[in-house]
């Protein structure tokens, strides 16, 4: 029996999340967070942790809610809808890595703090080359007597300014292929770690450069097998792609809503502007892109947990499509607003700019299209 839709529980989660975030994460909070250092709206995150969201996909035996990637996508869609700031997705990626490949000691050390919202974490994988494939990981991790020494810089690290823990991809063996890629847990307070904020136009995100000045970590910092981390890392990137796709879906829905609402109140030429066919068709074209895109997000999240052989393909499709759809939607939404949509005062630009960052995060659309062509053996 095909059942391609949310369950009752999932729909309840969706409703609850929407209500909660409408109340707790208004645009004013997004703007205030943009001004504050660190970029973590602590109050909001405390409540999110109370609701169990930080450990949403963590088994109950480890203190989580024991839900899956689809539920995570549902929550991420709602977070995207309100353009929520803060390290939710980043932390989820590191939690997923810990659950998949972490040692019992590593889990003990970090899971409770991450699940309770006392600490945040993020994945640091990109470098100057901006490549999302194994060749992008060039930073060397050299064996020392007790562990490893890492030196170099990781760029475009999402939520770096507010992170307490970094999951760093580095090379334990020279080369450009998948072999030799390793993952390390590097705490913020480790000697030699420095975070340099990288300001982007997106006011809702905090991106940073992670500078590792000969940082020494113990052997126990290695997550999974030495030199064997590309497959789990690639899977994390898929999860990131799904997360951003879900966020984009929610954001696009909200931007469309704002534009349609505005068109029903604004008058020009003695008519509501929403009665002009040009605006109606613009809105309809957005609907025709956004509505079906929801299925891609759902399927990618479902496949991530239940269809391992299709997971990468589904994630890549969702990310490629939503990257385009979100960008086109906010562009049209601004046009439907006219001048007012172009001001700082109006909230719409928060989504407009977030869409630009979402488009490139975890691989820009062309990267994913090429990846799909490779997966499908064109």
């Amino acid at each position: 029996m095909i059942d391609f839709g949310l369950s009752e529980d999932q729909e309840a989660l969706q409703r609850a999340a929407r209500e909660f975030l409408a109340a707790e994460c208004p645009p004013s909070l997004v703007r205030d967070t943009a001004e504050a250092p660190g970029g973590v709206p602590r109050g909001l995150y405390a409540k999110m942790a109370e609701l169990g969201w930080m450990g949403l996909a963590v088994p109950e035996s480890h203190g989580g809610l024991g839900l899956g990637t689809l539920e995570l996508a549902v929550v991420l869609e709602e977070l995207g809808r309100v353009a929520a700031p803060g390290p939710f997705l980043s932390t989820q990626l590191v939690i997923a890595a810990l659950m998949r490949a972490g040692s019992p000691a590593q889990r003990r050390a970090w899971l409770p703090r991450l699940v309770s919202g006392q600490a945040f974490a993020t994945l640091a994988y990109l470098e100057e080359s901006d490549r999302h494939d194994p060749a992008g990981i060039a930073l060397r991790a050299r064996r020392t007597r007790d562990g490893y020494s890492l030196a170099g810089a990781k760029l475009f690290v999402l939520d770096a300014p507010g992170a307490d823990l970094f999951l760093v991809a580095a090379r334990t063996r020279a080369g450009a292929g998948p072999a030799g890629v390793s993952l390390f847990l590097v705490p913020r307070e480790a000697a030699g770690v420095r975070v340099r904020p990288e300001e982007t136009i997106d006011l809702t995100r905090r991106v940073g450069e992670l500078v590792l000045g000969d940082v020494t970590v113990p052997r126990a910092a290695l997550l999974g097998g030495e030199g064997k981390a590309w497959p789990p890392l690639e899977r994390l990137l898929d999860l990131g792609a799904i997360g951003i796709a879900a966020d984009s879906l929610g954001g696009a829905e909200r931007a469309l809503e704002m534009a349609v609402d505005y068109s029903k109140t604004r008058e020009q030429f003695g008519r509501k502007i929403g009665s002009f066919q040009a605006l109606k068709h613009m809105a309809a074209e957005i609907v025709a892109e956004v509505e079906p895109a929801r299925s891609l997000v759902w399927y990618a999240a479902y496949a991530f947990d239940h269809r391992p052989r299709e997971a990468a393909r589904a994630a890549t499709i969702a990310k490629a499509r939503l990257g385009d759809v979100y960008a086109r939607t906010v562009r049209r939404a601004v046009e439907m607003h006219g001048g007012i949509g172009f001001t700082w005062e109006h909230d719409l630009h928060l989504w407009f700019k977030r869409a630009r960052w979402n488009r490139v995060a975890f691989g820009y659309p062309d990267h994913h299209r090429e990846r799909l062509a490779t997966i499908d053996k064109y």
Partner: protein, 397 residues
């Protein structure tokens, strides 16, 4: 969410797949689905539908008393999926199965059901649709074909146009004006007319493709029994809207789209372009990937709509979205093929150098027809904005 089949469904799937492998007629690769212009092909297509029906695979969801199986939607979905997979030819009686049949089941009299439903399934009766008129395209409700009551009969006069398959159809379901005084949406009835009735003339309307799938149908003092009205007198508009919904679903189906994309991919893998295979060109690869993503989107969206059906939830404007998106997508697929083909692109059907029998340029035109027919893209956008988003209605007469 669950996309896996139950053991029973899996067994059924296996059964259908095996049956198709054994029974499917050979297909000319240049033969376009749902395009029946040669009498011989019509005959073959009827045989094929009959065979499928006898195997129990046509309109499985219909009640048993009318020839259906009373099966759940999943079974029919599995059959549809397997037919795509096998590249099985389409059903010639689609108009009856997808449009008249469901309408009669919901709105018809017991007599109408017993008379028509079984023959729809067996392809004994082929149906065509008499909605559009020369002056009434997008503005369907302005139609002027009149049916005047005289005694126990209607006398029908007027003209229909864009009537697919009228050249061999046995019956036509029509919208006719039964009350010229009423506001335009209120004076319309839904009428079933036997195509053999005296006074009906069918004139082929050749498409730009050169095919004669469309027709004009002229009615001159055509006498139709009163019992052939479906639903109440002057209730035709409501009933037609329910049927239009089915049409959108049909046209918008992703079935054909997936097949076409597979054909495009084969083409890209074999066609040279500027000294290498087309699929080795990064720009072509990304364009194909983009199309693949759109195809995948509509495939999953069809599952979502199916789920809404299974759960008894309203579809809202999803039929309009599907119609809009899928027809544009099909046209874009054909255009991509033409671009890959370069100078080979415009070669016509019958040319020995034409790839895939010259199907691509025809498909390019045919799909443009789909964008226009069954409610143009513009009409779908109006519906999405006005019904889906509650944006203020256009000023219309």
């Amino acid at each position: 969410m669950d996309l896996s089949y139950t053991p029973e469904e899996r067994a059924f799937q296996h059964e259908v797949r095996t049956w198709l492998k054994r029974n499917m007629p050979k297909r000319d690769p240049a033969e376009r689905p749902l395009d029946f212009h040669e009498p011989e092909r019509v005959a073959r297509a009827k045989v094929w539908q009959r065979k499928l029906f006898e195997a129990g695979y046509v309109a499985m969801g219909w009640p048993r008393e009318y020839g259906g199986r009373g099966a759940d939607v999943m079974r029919q979905t599995i059959v549809n999926e397997e037919m795509v997979r096998a590249r099985a030819p389409g059903l010639i009686g689609m108009m009856g199965i997808q449009m008249v049949g469901p309408t009669l089941i919901t709105h018809g009299t017991e007599e109408q059901r017993r008379r028509h439903l079984p023959k729809i399934l067996t392809a004994e009766d082929i149906w065509c649709q008499g909605y559009s008129e020369p002056g009434s395209g997008s503005d369907l409700a302005s139609l002027r074909t009149r049916a005047e009551m005289r005694g126990d009969e209607f006398v029908v006069n007027g003209q229909k146009v864009w009537t697919s398959n009228a050249q061999f159809a046995d019956w036509i379901f029509c919208l006719v004006r039964t009350d010229p005084e009423a506001p335009k949406h209120r004076g319309i009835s839904y009428l079933l007319i036997d195509m053999k009735t005296p006074g009906i003339t069918v004139r082929p309307l050749v498409q730009m493709t050169g095919d004669a799938g469309f027709n004009e149908v002229f009615f001159e003092d055509v006498r139709v029994p009163r019992a052939n009205v479906v639903g109440g007198l002057n209730d035709g508009w409501t009933i037609a809207n329910a049927t239009l919904f089915h049409e959108r679903n049909m046209l918008g189906s992703t079935t054909r789209t997936q097949q076409v994309f597979q054909g495009l991919l084969r083409l890209a893998r074999t066609q040279g372009r500027g000294g290498r295979l087309a699929c080795a060109d990064p720009a072509v690869r990304r364009r194909l990937a983009d199309l693949a993503i759109r195809v995948e989107t509509m495939k999953l969206e069809a599952y979502r709509q199916l789920t809404d059906t299974l759960r008894g939830r309203p579809h809202g404007i999803s039929a309009s979205v599907s119609k809009l998106v899928t027809t544009e997508l099909n046209h874009d697929l054909a255009e991509a093929a033409l671009d890959i083909l370069g100078s080979y692109g415009p070669l016509a059907r019958g040319n020995r150098r034409a790839r895939d029998g010259g199907a691509w340029p025809l498909d390019f035109m045919f799909t443009l027809g789909l964008i226009i027919g069954g409610g143009t893209s513009q009409i779908q956008k109006n519906i999405i904005a006005e019904r889906g988003l509650a944006m203020p209605r256009e000023l219309r007469a």
